[in-house]
Symmetry: C2
DNA sequence: TTCGCCAAAGATAATAATTCTCATTTAGAA
DNA sequence: TTCTAAATGAGAATTATTATCTTTGGCGAA
């Protein structure tokens, strides 16, 4: 887990002012697994910042996304979710429950990178690829 | 392009009543390329059905999605978009402009299918995979 | 072909997520 | 420490979508 110091450093490098709200929100997204919604984040933050404004949370999330410290994750059904950018990974979507889990697979990444190195898409420059693996979590 | 007759047949097979609104909406999504938003669809429909209710459009889109005649696609930024289901395909997302284009690549599909036939994800049953290929459309 | 039922459409209110506005505060450079 | 642009807070506004309720009409059965 990232220390507070590292986290502040990240903000600083992007030229963002280090405010307690930003630190708290950034930290919250890192801490809250499973791709929190803005609502999840607000709820969590409110424990320590009962007076934080919802607008602020949205603004901070936006600025973190703009500065590539967070990613927005789309969900076919409903609300936008956020995801700390730590490393390249894919998503398992449960069609039934809408649960999202991260899925790491360096072999797969290698395979796909190799594929697109050889096969160009004309008129389009590929930056990165995320797989949306749809299916169902098996009952345990 | 699908004829009106084929299109009605599709609705019928799903046990949906064939109403002029449904036909028009289904047709509109097929016609409007590039993953129209509900708004795009409404705008288009209004030309022939100036009095159609927005709620109806949403309801029809929902029922078409439920019956797997359409798919919902959500872009990274905000709004829901709709996509006629014709066959398996992926999406090219332009990071700059949010433009979405379809991308077909049977070779790629084969490669990935083969990969996941051999490599199982424990606790998860894969149904289908969509690639989100992020990048930029080159200027022409 | 007509009848009658129930799904579907229309109108509009309600809700939910997100954005905007603007007054106030504050981080951090000078 | 001071100053200023940037950030925050509060709450109104906007936008997309859903819900409710009444009316209409598709279509199976008589």
């Amino acid at each position: 887990m990232m220390t507070d110091e590292q986290l502040r450093e990240q903000l600083k490098q992007k030229g963002l002012k280090i405010t307690p709200q930003r630190v708290a929100i950034y930290r919250a997204v890192m801490k809250l697994k499973n791709h929190p919604t803005a609502e999840n984040i607000i709820e969590h933050i409110k424990l320590n910042y009962p007076n934080i404004s919802i607008g602020t949370v949205y603004k901070v999330l936006d600025s973190l996304v703009e500065n590539q410290l967070l990613k927005k994750v789309k969900n076919e059904k409903d609300v936008m979710r956020y995801d700390a950018i730590i490393h390249q990974h894919h998503h398992l979507y449960c069609i039934e429950t809408e649960r999202i889990e991260d899925y790491d697979d360096p072999d797969l990444d290698k395979l796909i990178t190799k594929y697109f190195k050889q096969k160009k898409i004309k008129g389009f420059k590929v930056k990165d690829i995320t797989l949306q693996i749809n299916g169902e979590f098996k009952i345990k």
